[in-house]
Symmetry: C2
Subunit: 245 residues, 2 copies
Amino acid sequence: MPPTPPEKQSTFPSVWTRPRPTREHPALSRDHIVAEALRLLDEEGIDALSMRRLGTRLNAGATSLYRHVANKDELIELAVDEIYGEIEAPVHPDPANWRTDMAGCAHSLRTTILRHPWLASVLGEMGMSYLGPNWMRASEATLNVLTTAGFPTDEADRALSTVVAYVTGMATSEAAWLNVLARSGQDERTMVEHLWPAAEEAAQEYPLLREGYAEQRGTDPRAAREEGFQYGLDRVLDGLETRLK
Amino acid sequence: MPPTPPEKQSTFPSVWTRPRPTREHPALSRDHIVAEALRLLDEEGIDALSMRRLGTRLNAGATSLYRHVANKDELIELAVDEIYGEIEAPVHPDPANWRTDMAGCAHSLRTTILRHPWLASVLGEMGMSYLGPNWMRASEATLNVLTTAGFPTDEADRALSTVVAYVTGMATSEAAWLNVLARSGQDERTMVEHLWPAAEEAAQEYPLLREGYAEQRGTDPRAAREEGFQYGLDRVLDGLETRLK
DNA sequence: CCCGGATGCGAACACCGTACGCTGGCCGCG
DNA sequence: CGCGGCCAGCGTACGGTGTTCGCATCCGGG
């Protein structure tokens, strides 16, 4: 009888089966951990992220992670700022085109959130880790768009907050919907169709809501989301434009 | 030696110590459960809400709650819509004053969220339970403000979404900050003062951010939040106003 | 070569949400 | 009045969670 293969037999107390303790390829590191956490989050959502699952995915024990990360919360904060690294903002903004520049930042933030819908689940518990390097970089760049457009520095701050609040508010509710969608495993179109009776039932006594629902019936929900976001963004930018006289 | 008091000795197998099974005052009901859950949430935040703790607070076993509520998630959804009942919206809006009416709705939504900061933690996981009766009532009333102001029905929907997105986005980040604050137990003023060095350190390479920070230094943070919200709200309403020509 | 700090990890603790089956009181029907 | 069924409440149990602690082992530097 051949000996059992030496793979993963470390619990069997024999010198011969003891695994060669050569470091697995790259060992464990904070960046490695965050990267794998992101992969897990994107694939299966926030509920799937547990220290144990993350550990096994890294061929490591759950508690080993604590050598590189203080908390699960800290881990998530790191992951979030990593995501913020995807936000694009113009380096040399054009004062004449500040609206399109700002619109670009806003769309970039929105698509970033929608690309990682689990973000919405944690935004409310962290503010948005305003001190992470990637968030600060994006903020500075967007602030630059506003100041070169002519906003005084203190007002540029508030204008940025306004846009960010609108975008995160909108994207958060969209992402929550995407989360529900992902859990149901259905197509957005069919999911809406399935939900329709309940919505109409609930809106029975509310004529304005009912009318709004009825008008949306049959349209592509994804396109409607996109268009709704654009509408609100245009209004916010309109409102800011009035301040530049 | 006197007998042990008959209170809560049901596990001791004696006829004499068995508690009189008279129904405690009101028994258990869904409304009762939701009300107590709200009390717990407001006092100690979202992390403190567990079925076991809620059960003991109601002098009941944890699993008894499941007779009246399907899930912890459903319980939270009920609690959230209960809170939405606090939102105020004018019943007979004045078309000439639609801006102040909308501003009132917006402020009411914001203060509602800030009064229950745990709301921010769950908004991202539920969209916002758009089908709850209280939310629908508030939506209908606010939609009424917009349509009587002159918005066509389909645009009123999008305008409402815009305002709601801005307010929830702003209030969410404020509430997250309040949550951090509550956990630290510190005063907002002193907490800001403590955080300052880290913020300035992090903003080292970002002149615009640094300048913005510097200008805020020493001001009352609560008033600044209030004023920042008002600024953005004014911009959003400005943007909507352009659509009424 | 050896030692000390860094690193991984197994076991343990205190919780969590919830499925299941029992008990005992209540209500309506015979 | 008696009784049978219904159902609220609950004890137990299962499989999971984040995190602490102490031990084993490895690696780099004197």
